[in-house]
């Protein structure tokens, strides 16, 4: 699956995107966030607060309970501030 990070989430994780295999035991966005946080360092900092980071699965907004699967594009970013 493809993981994307934007704005300060990208700055904290230190990368804009990466390809990873679906980790064992990960079926939802929430489980993926938990798995990313376990990497520690910048990932732990970026995902310190579940309530702040927004998620899109295949370019549609998603919640922590949404399903993720191999081949999905999952993006993590702060609340949007365009306009």
């Amino acid at each position: 699956m493809k993981l994307l990070y934007f704005a300060w989430v990208r700055e904290k994780t230190g990368i804009g995107e990466e390809d990873v295999g679906l980790p064992d035991g990960v079926d939802t966005v929430g489980e993926l966030v938990h798995w990313l946080r376990e990497r520690g360092g910048g990932f732990e900092a970026a995902f310190a607060d579940d309530a702040v980071v927004r998620v899109a699965v295949n370019q549609e907004y998603a919640t922590l309970t949404a399903a993720v699967a191999e081949g999905d594009e999952v993006a993590f970013f702060p609340p949007v501030t365009g306009g």
């Binding site: 300060w8 907004y61 949007v80 365009g82």
Partner: protein, 157 residues
């Protein structure tokens, strides 16, 4: 029915003229232009950099446009949003709606910018004298967007 995400500036007059060119059923065209300010709170801003999510941005803007078309009788809509480094005074965004009557044009234009601000994946990084500062989402933007949460219909229909 146009959505564009681009680095370069746009000509407001030319864009609006193109929207209604040859369509004499349009009686009202309402537009909103967002500009970069030179202050944010107490800080002076030298510039800002807009980041976005290529692919999802266009999709989100098209969905917002489609929602407006479903709610109001519109002949044309336009959303142009820039990304990259912008200095104070520069145009960031143009939204516009054309309809037979002004009420639908005004309401749809207002709706487009309110929903864009809370749904389109853009992020602003301000260059301040103290360094780069990511802009926080504002509650007032959520409240503005929430006004349109119900299926509010135009009086012009």
């Amino acid at each position: 029915m146009t959505v564009r995400v681009q680095g370069e500036d746009f000509d407001v007059g030319a864009e609006l003229a193109r929207m209604t060119d040859g369509d004499y059923s349009v009686g009202g065209l309402c537009s909103f232009v967002g500009l970069v300010r030179d202050v944010a709170g107490e800080d002076e801003i030298d510039a800002m950099t807009l980041e976005h999510y290529p692919g999802m941005t266009e999709k989100a803007l098209s969905e917002i446009e489609a929602e407006a078309l479903g709610r109001w009788p519109l002949q044309a809509t336009l959303i142009i949003h820039r990304y990259g480094r912008l200095e104070p005074g520069e145009r960031i965004v143009l939204v516009a709606a054309a309809s037979a009557h002004r009420e639908a044009a005004f309401e749809a234009c207002h709706f487009l910018i309110d929903w864009l601000k809370t749904k389109a994946p853009f992020w602003k990084l301000e260059d301040t004298p103290d360094g780069g500062q990511w802009v926080d989402a504002r509650d007032s933007d959520d409240i503005a967007a929430a006004r349109w949460a119900t299926d509010k219909k135009s009086a012009a229909e």
